[in-house]
Amino acid sequence: MTDAVRPLSPQRRALNPFELLARYGTVLALVLLLLFNLVFTPNFATLQTLNVNLTQVCTIVIVAVGMTLVIATGGIDLSVGSLMAISGALAPMVFMSKLFPIGNIYLAVALAIIIAVGVATLLGLFNGWLIARFRIQPIIATLVLFIAGRGIAQVMTNGQLQTFRVPEFQFIGLGRVLGIPFQVIVMVILVAIAAWVIRKTVFGRQILAIGGNERASGLSGVAVKKVKLAVYAISGFCAGIAGLVVIAINSSSDANLVGLGMELDAIAAVAVGGTLLSGGRALIIGTLLGALTIQLVRYTLLANGVPDSAAQVALAVIIVLAVWIQQRGKSE
């Protein structure tokens, strides 16, 4: 990769076909997928299909939003799946009063959410600390919690399934507001905030500046370490919330499974969405579209009788193509 400073805003000049494809390819792919499904997949245009797809894609998008910010600084976060497992293991322990007795169920649920998400955020901060303080490469620094994090969640629960039926908590995953699933609202809010932060705030500009050229941005007064700490903490925060959504939907928490493989799903969504892994760019809406595309590809193939394993191969091809087109669009 080159380490030239990338412009913060797209330059205005004639677009080549690859650039057009790179910019609108994901939208185009989504539209094509929708058209295909409308024609070929039975019962596609129903509210139920929409709900199934949205609820399935929610957790990926929530995690991928944090991942987008991390990747925009030129980093990566492999620990998100493990942090989801920790958050998912902690919350039931709190609201089922396994750690300490709590009388009021609303208070218990509130505490559970705060503690679970808080711990995930702190662990994200720990990732950021390793990366900013010791200058450990992000992939290795977050590998530590990738390996240890799931182990911690398993040790906390002794590897056992925690089942529960607490409607007050499960509203996160099963509740609806005006007919819209609650987690979809959470997702939309997170996406909106992140997109606003990237476009309109100094912090957002600093994230992009660090990803573009860390040294130059440090020399021009950006507090590189603080920004890095913050993005990894945000990634941990997002993973914490996603963990809660998953266990709320499942009515149970299995430390062996919650968030398994999530880091790859999220990274794939970010890459398909047009954020380059080398940093300096953050397309939050792109990430949302990327995750939706991947979900819709999977759904389309499954709904038309293609086995999940073949869908995986198709997904691999799509990721490579998407990244390749974006690189062509950028380099020319």
Binding site: M1, I76, L78, L130, F134, R135, I136, Q137, I139, I140, A141, L143, V144, L145, F146, I147, A148, G149, R150, G151, I152, Q154, V155, N158, G159, E214, R215, G261, L264, I267, A268, A271, L277, S278, P307, D308, S309, A310, A311, Q312, V313, L315, A316, V317, I319, V320, V323, W324, Q327
Partner: protein
């Protein structure tokens, strides 16, 4: 002597020292820790990881990464299981062949399409996993017990486990290539600075192709041993192997930025992380404490943490200039 050299030496000798201390600890604390049976089973089981880590070591020395090794091993175990009725050589051919093929795809994606190694091998990781499940029909594939194929995983030769012998040969070859051939020097040069390597006239793309193909082939070979050892091709095995391999390589002092590395220290890294698990089992056997198997990942993670912090303190500037 500059700090990078210092880190390399500290990494290489540090990990050997830590390994020696761990073995000494085990020997003093537990009966039978150094019994032939225990040594053989540790070597037999960890030879698969050693092969994968060897390939990863070369990839990382060029400054790249190969996330596909785990699922390639799974895919290799499936194809090897199908070929197992025709004998051990057919099994090896099928497993290694499919590994080489995926490795070649990785190399083409990286050198021709200029896709970053992380993304390219992430995609082939998914593809290999999907292919393994497709070929195996979502089940494990039993191997033939009549053809002698299972000897590759379960057999002994001159009293040593055959998979360990295979791994040892691979490591000796790897060590020779790295230290005594132009290719080996080229690997380190490309990892040190690809630009400079190209300007010096080194065939950087060919070297990169070579390491990814080798990594795929070794992962396929690990899959052959997996199938032979457990009597079945296992399409869902191999999850997380790539990260275990990366951890072993890093514990062995090889820097992820490339340009520095040691084959021997990587082997020590694999054994260290593997023997930690054995020690945990023996400790539980004593009955004083009862740590569940879940602790092994916590301990491995903590171990990795200590190593990377030590490395970072010894080479404070390295990552910044990358």
């Amino acid at each position: 002597m500059n700090r990078v050299h210092l880190a390399r030496i500290a990494g290489a000798y540090g990990v050997v020292l830590a390994l020696a201390l761990l073995i000494l600890f085990g020997y003093l604390r537990y009966d039978n820790f150094l019994s032939p049976f225990n040594i053989m089973s540790v070597l037999r089981y960890n030879s698969m990881f050693a092969l994968v880590a060897l390939g990863m070591c070369f990839v990382i020395m060029t400054g790249g990464i190969d996330l596909s090794v785990g699922t390639v091993a799974a895919l290799g175990s499936v194809t090897a299981a199908y070929a197992s009725p025709y004998g051990p050589l057919a099994g090896i051919g099928a497993g290694v062949g499919v590994g080489l093929f995926v490795g070649l795809i990785n190399a083409l994606l990286i050198t021709r399409m200029h896709i970053m190694p992380f993304i390219a091998t992430l995609a082939t990781m998914l593809a290999a996993s999907g292919s393994a499940l497709l070929f195996a029909n979502n089940r494990s594939v039993p191997v033939s017990y009549q053809s002698g194929f299972t000897e590759l995983g379960q057999g002994n030769f001159l009293g040593l486990p055959i998979p360990a012998i295979i791994a040892a040969i691979a490591f000796i070859l790897g060590w020779l290539v790295l230290n005594y051939t132009a290719t080996g020097r080229g690997v380190l040069a490309v990892g040190g600075s690809e630009e400079s390597a190209k300007l010096m006239g080194l065939p950087a793309d060919r070297i990169k192709t070579l390491v990814y193909v080798a990594s795929g082939g070794l992962a396929g070979l690990a899959g052959v041993i997996l199938a032979a050892q457990f009597g079945a091709g296992q399409p869902i095995e191999g999850v997380g192997w790539e990260l275990f391999a990366i951890a072993s390589v890093v514990v062995g002092g090889t820097l992820l930025t490339g340009g520095v590395g040691s084959v021997g220290a990587t082997l020590a890294g694999v054994l260290l992380l593997g023997i930690l698990f054995t020690v945990l089992n023996f400790e539980n056997g004593l009955g004083w404490i009862s740590l569940s198997a879940y602790w092994q990942s916590v301990i491995r993670g903590a171990f990795l943490l200590i190593v990377v912090i030590l490395q970072a303190r010894l080479v404070p500037d390295r990552t910044v200039h990358q």
